[in-house]
């Protein structure tokens, strides 16, 4: 356990020592989204009855911040360590693949949740949030953060250069989060794109998370939970499997 705790602590320290860049900056970005989209669309879009567009936007932005920052943390930590060579300090000790997985993903989830909490606290000041089902909020936030932390770990193991990691981030993670219904309800989409959205696991994370605030969603939260939980289990076994096999880490 000491090995796991130390690596977890190191991963937290790594982002905490540069918190301006890893926490404050993404909080500011999310605030800008809220101010601009809220200002432009407030009077034109009504997704749920009795829910103002700005209020609708907040949970989506919070979740998007959680997801993107969880991904950014584990992926950038791993690729930096790989490229500078100091990953050797983690590979030489008797750390098991479970310990390495747990430490990287938990720290990534923690950073995602810290940014998400920051975004929420600041945006809550402009809107008046409701909490219809707080447990669902917690469950989807945790699962979403863990999933993206895991995806970041996989991307970090796979990528050999920074631009490969950037490609992963720009061509997979960004479109998947933006097209998951952060800014809209998928019911407003044409039928074809509604169907496409239903194949995007990120959609269920955000939809379920939003249900916790408004008690309204595009899909039944239990169903979203089942899909997200299975998605997590698959990714987690893939990541642990990669660590166990030494794929691209132990040549």
């Amino acid at each position: 356990m000491t090995g796991f705790r130390t690596l977890f602590y190191k991963e937290i320290l790594r982002f905490w020592k540069v918190a301006t860049q890893t926490i404050s900056a993404p909080v500011l970005t999310a605030m800008l989204y809220l101010l601009i989209f809220g200002h432009v669309l407030e009077d034109h879009v009504q997704v749920y009855p009795d829910v103002r567009y700005t209020s609708f936007l907040v949970p989506g932005l919070v979740m998007m911040s959680v997801l993107q920052n969880a991904f950014a943390n584990s992926s950038s930590s791993l690729i930096q360590s790989k490229i500078t060579g100091n990953l050797v300090f983690v590979l030489l000790p008797p750390l098991s693949h479970w310990e390495i997985y747990g430490a990287y993903v938990l720290a990534a989830a923690l950073r995602g949740l810290a940014v998400g909490a920051g975004v929420f606290l600041i945006t809550a000041w402009f809107t008046h949030p409701t909490f219809v089902a707080p447990w669902w909020i917690a469950v989807f936030a945790l699962l979403g953060a863990a999933i993206l932390g895991t995806m970041g770990l996989i991307a970090g193991i796979w990528a050999e250069k920074f631009d490969q990691l950037a490609a992963f981030q720009n061509f997979l993670i960004m479109p998947a989060t933006f097209l998951s219904g952060v800014f809209y309800s998928i019911h407003s989409l044409p039928p074809f794109w509604q169907t496409v959205s239903r194949f995007n696991p990120f959609f269920y994370m955000i939809d379920g998370f939003r249900y916790g605030f408004f008690g309204q969603s595009d899909v039944d939260p239990l169903r979203s939970f089942a899909i997200v939980a299975i998605f997590f289990a698959v990714l987690a076994s893939l990541a642990v499997g990669l660590l166990k096999s030494g794929y691209k880490l132990r040549h």
Binding site: G3, L13, F89, P94
Partner: protein, 303 residues
């Protein structure tokens, strides 16, 4: 039980056969040298021992623990100083060493961390950020990181490459002390005089194979007892003496020759042969063979 047992290890990188069936048994308490030119497979072998790389065939055990099957126990018994100068720029020296202890499951390790820092001349840099250290200081931290868990087997992969004399002396003093206290040391180095001074046994690797394995003393004895180095002011080496030349390039390059001499009585006939050929000696030395000669002879042989 052997400190390190390497059995028939093979490793291939695409078309390159990095290791072609290496076997070595290193006993507890040895100071063992692993020598060979660049690309001979030394670092590949160390990576496999450390679990940074996986062998294609064969097995490695540290204190009887297989490095793949019982990797946790094996790694607890092993400390490795990597060849590359790597560091984590986020942390200070003390943070780095505390974290490395933690990875090995150790808390409250500060007394030993302080002792290691003291012995490696790092004490006054304890709270300096890794980024702020000179190359030599970073190298010391790498050594300290390998020692935080008091591993019974310590592997140093060219620890003195590009390092100043002071650090070399500090380092060898400390490593020699650890060896006296029972730690097994495995060293790769390009400085053969270092290996000769420190190692009780030496393996030489060439193109992924062990080409020599013996005690340092026996290896040196294996080649001619001594060497006669002569500089000629005039004339050339007569044909009868050419087979005695130990470095073939000397036959092409000029007037300095190193001749193998097994007994002192062989010196007189050599001088006589030179005199008969009309050569005039400018300078002459009789040298004991050293590990470098053995190394060169073994590496040049079979070319």
């Amino acid at each position: 039980m052997a400190a390190l047992e390497i059995v028939n290890v093979e490793k291939r990188y695409k078309s390159l056969q990095a290791l072609g069936g290496v076997s070595l048994r290193i006993e507890q308490g040895e100071f063992f040298g692993l020598l060979g030119p660049n690309g001979a497979g030394k670092t590949t072998l160390i990576s496999i021992v450390a679990g940074l790389s996986r062998a294609d065939a064969g097995s490695v055990a540290i204190y009887g623990y297989d490095v793949v099957r019982d990797y946790r126990q094996a790694r607890k018994h092993l400390g490795v100083v990597p060849q590359e100068l790597v560091f984590d720029p986020f942390f200070t020296v003390r943070e780095t060493l505390r974290m490395q202890s933690g990875y090995f499951g150790l808390t409250r390790n500060d007394a030993w961390i302080d002792e290691v820092m003291e012995n490696l001349g790092l004490a006054d840099k304890a709270d300096a950020n890794m980024r702020a250290l000179s190359g030599g200081m970073k190298r010391r931290v790498l050594v300290a990181q390998a020692l935080v868990h008091r591993p019974p087997v310590i592997v140093l992969d060219e620890p003195t490459a590009g390092v100043d004399v002071e650090l070399r002396q500090t380092l060898w003093k400390f490593i020699a002390r650890l060896n006296r206290e029972g730690h097994t040391i495995v060293l790769t180095t390009h400085y053969l005089e270092e290996a000769q001074a420190l190692c009780n046994r030496v393996a030489m690797l060439k193109a992924g194979k062990v080409v020599a394995l013996d005690t340092t003393a026996a290896l040196i004895k294996r080649i001619s007892g001594s060497q006669l180095v002569i500089n000629l002011a005039r004339g050339t080496l007569p044909d009868s003496l050419k087979p005695l030349v130990s470095h073939p390039q000397e036959l092409v390059s000029g007037n300095r020759y190193t001749l193998r001499v097994n007994e002192y009585t062989e010196v007189e006939p050599i001088l006589a042969a030179l005199r008969e050929a009309g050569a005039v000696i400018d300078d002459m030395q009789l040298q004991q063979a050293d590990l470098e000669d053995v190394f060169l002879q073994i590496m040049e042989g079979g070319k």
